[in-house]
Assembly symmetry: C2
Homo-oligomer: 338 residues x 2
Amino acid sequence: MDYEILELGDVRLQRGGTLREAKLAYKTYGELNADKSNAIVYPTWYSGQHYENEWLIGEGMALDPTRYFIVIPNMLGNGISSSPSNTPPPHDRAAFPQVTMYDNVELQHSLVTERFGIERLELVTGWSMGAGQTYQWAVSHPDMVKRILPFCGAAKTSLHNIVFLEGVKAALTADAGFHNGWYDKQPVIGLRAMARVYAGWGFSQQFYREKIYEREPIGCGSLEDFLVGFWEGLFIKRDVNNLLTMLWTWQNADIGDSPGFAGVEEALGAIRALSIVMPAQQDLYFPPEDNEWEVAHMSRAELRVIPGAWGHFAGGGLNPVDTKFIDDALKELLAQEA
Amino acid sequence: MDYEILELGDVRLQRGGTLREAKLAYKTYGELNADKSNAIVYPTWYSGQHYENEWLIGEGMALDPTRYFIVIPNMLGNGISSSPSNTPPPHDRAAFPQVTMYDNVELQHSLVTERFGIERLELVTGWSMGAGQTYQWAVSHPDMVKRILPFCGAAKTSLHNIVFLEGVKAALTADAGFHNGWYDKQPVIGLRAMARVYAGWGFSQQFYREKIYEREPIGCGSLEDFLVGFWEGLFIKRDVNNLLTMLWTWQNADIGDSPGFAGVEEALGAIRALSIVMPAQQDLYFPPEDNEWEVAHMSRAELRVIPGAWGHFAGGGLNPVDTKFIDDALKELLAQEA
């Protein structure tokens, strides 16, 4: 086990459920300095675990562990933090409660403040649902978060994105082996179906047109090889109830739904962090237009678009060109007085 | 029954199968004139039947039945032309042979020439897979087709579109009730799942962002109402094997795969029809870039993009503004000497 667990006891959730003996799995990189002024939080994305975030951390990069203390908290439902798959009865599997972005960030806040005694964060950043948590951090703890760089994500899940996820969910649960979540083994037909549904969304039309999946760094032999090797491989290692828990979190993500706020516009206006908001030009479910609207409602934010053909997965760490683009922006942001 | 059937006997298919006692269902509008010089062919789209094409036909419109003789042939697999659902054993249901765009057009050619004795077509036009058949007509019978206006479709199905359809297929067949096509009743879980997968693709991000589905002419009460009422309603009335037959035709559509051609570029170059190629600006699976590439390889073609937020369904006849845009182009094209 290459990570640690923070035990949080019973945690009351935003939508009324309770997370019994809540567990937050996390991993840290680098050392917290004496005045605790070098901390960065970098949450995970839909289905991902901490090790799948590590591509953005390294010596010489913005997230340099020789300089910063970087905390990757695992999202609830991702299989190692509290999840349907690891919670004992009666709150296990299909009975796992609904958790929101707000809930995720509250647990992460406990980790950062109680375990480490950190009062200020130099940066929160993340990809996709990690970007959603990044926004949530800036809204829930405006005095604590100095800078944010959400990439390929949104402050509030768009209706189109909700529809895309309805397709994913319908494919996942169409498998009779799903049994409303009370399966004894993973319903793999549903998992493979949802992977194929996802495949068209994850990368752009141009990415497929130019067969970028055949070239390095992906290097698949054919389209079918890519669908099985990359996409089915990404999801068949996950638990279906876990995926549905995170999918619910995603569909219901809205910083404007946080306590004390009357909607997303008000919540965006309350963000005080210095911000670079970074969509990918050809992202099919987090299109730049949505982030553009957000930035217009934020006080210290710049919109900076990742160019190129990789779509949503520009933020997935596979393409060195996109990774450099993100890393350069992170360096620039961290160098600015906030 | 508001349509007619042409019986074609046993028809050998491009990929080696045989369509036994092939049936081509069609409907005509208007009268064929004495010198048979006023015929238009207007094929159907994925899952659609002739009556779902009629929105583009009317007095005062380009496809004016007081002036033209308009033939709507139903695509093979659509439930009334030869299909898995209406073919007797042993070639019924999951044993129905693979049919291509080329096959579809060959049967339509028999209808037009043998039943009606027509030698020249003023126009072939169609939406989506109807656009694919339009291209195929111009390639298979270059001397016969004077003009084409394919809208929201392609000469060859793109890799990205193939991936989108893999998602549709995976959702449709994940239902255990599918039984590899040998179901006794329609696997409705799969049908509803594929409808939800389709929903994100059919309309643009902007369409959902602005909740255009809540306004007339759609006028749904909520997103869920739209997903059930429009999307599930569109597909649950279809037969699953029929949908899979047409999906195969779609995934394998390529005018360059026609006898005598070495690829799509050569086939595009062989089109002699005066052409307006009309993508929708925000179509997520037939993006304008693909048509732009096609037009660059055609000799007498103009690219004209349908503006606005309706995405692929700009060509579906629901939005009066888009319908007028298409109709205006058809009028202009028909008025030109070809």
